[in-house]
Symmetry: C2
Subunit: 165 residues, 2 copies
DNA sequence: CCTTAACTTCACAATGTTCTGAAACGAGCG
DNA sequence: CGCTCGTTTCAGAACATTGTGAAGTTAAGG
């Protein structure tokens, strides 16, 4: 059986996965270039790639890589590290870190909650509309707590399944 | 104290909330017009509006309403009902139904999982990249189960808090 | 049936978004 | 201290998205 190992990976297979997975991320709302960069990192053996490598694999300009990476770093989906003794930069998708980022739609949820609270107040908390908004708000507050607990359970689950695998 | 009731709602306050909340939804990836329509429904007293009412409140053409509503219905975020004895259509945001829709990023997650499975196979499940993809896949499978349980808990919580006033 | 009200579809115009090439920047090295 | 490699910034072109007006479709009511 021909299972890719080490350096002899089929670049076409990699590219096929990268583009397909990126397309799904785009559909879910991620901008295109960040999605492609992220997928490329995820599919790399080390989880680390330089700007040049990313540009080559995706056939895009350094400028595009720069923009995508800035976006991903802001979302905490990748981290950037300077390669010692060189002016190259390396981008890394850190196993755990990025799940956290995904569930860190928290920042987004927080904003929804604020808007809803304001709505409850300005429409009146005893109007039918106000009550609907209040219930929606309660839902998000509930979810926020639950997600936190869920991530704890995931870490335990993960430890068990992959920690000593 | 002057709390809005019945028909005498301050249209400007409503509009302010609608536009603000819609903006947050847009930021989270929802297309603009669907977001506005949805926010308008959420902020209505009955949770039901006609195409004409939506067009008037949002100052947009019937065509725009039509497109937005089709989108929302596909995402299961609103339901459409024909008003008996009239050719008007009414659009409703059903209290519970739309939380389900939100967590029905499930459809999205399912597609991610498919793409990841394919990646694990084509890159080889014992390569470093393959292992990373496999772990990511495991995470989503975990989340999928957890979300289901969470929604059960929410329904209970909701019943307790809102069910009996 | 024919009229008409309501919704939908379609082509196009307006508007945004996204990537590129070129120029500016800055950190390491001679 | 200036050269050079790598990254970033920026203006603009290519591209995609979105909403409109107008024509088309469907069904209620005369």
């Amino acid at each position: 059986m021909a299972e890719p190992r080490g350096t002899d990976r089929d670049p076409e297979a990699v590219s096929r996965f990268v583009e397909h997975f990126a397309a799904q991320l785009v559909e879910a709302g991620l901008p295109r270039m960040p999605a492609r960069v992220f997928a490329a990192l995820l599919a790399s053996d080390t989880g680390v790639m330089t700007s040049a490598e990313l540009g080559e694999q995706l056939r895009v300009s350094p400028a595009a890589v720069s923009g995508a990476v800035r976006y991903l770093a802001q979302q905490r989906m990748v981290s950037r590290e300077r390669e010692p003794g060189s002016r190259r930069e390396r981008y890394r998708v850190h196993g755990d870190q990025w799940y956290e980022a995904l569930t860190n739609r928290e920042a987004v949820i927080r904003r929804w909650e604020d808007a809803l609270r304001e709505g409850v107040t300005s429409l009146g908390e005893h109007t039918p509309a106000g009550r609907r908004l209040a219930e929606t708000l309660a839902f998000f507050e509930f979810v926020e707590k639950e997600v936190e607990a869920m991530m704890d359970r995931w870490r335990a689950h993960r430890e068990e399944r992959f920690g000593c695998g």
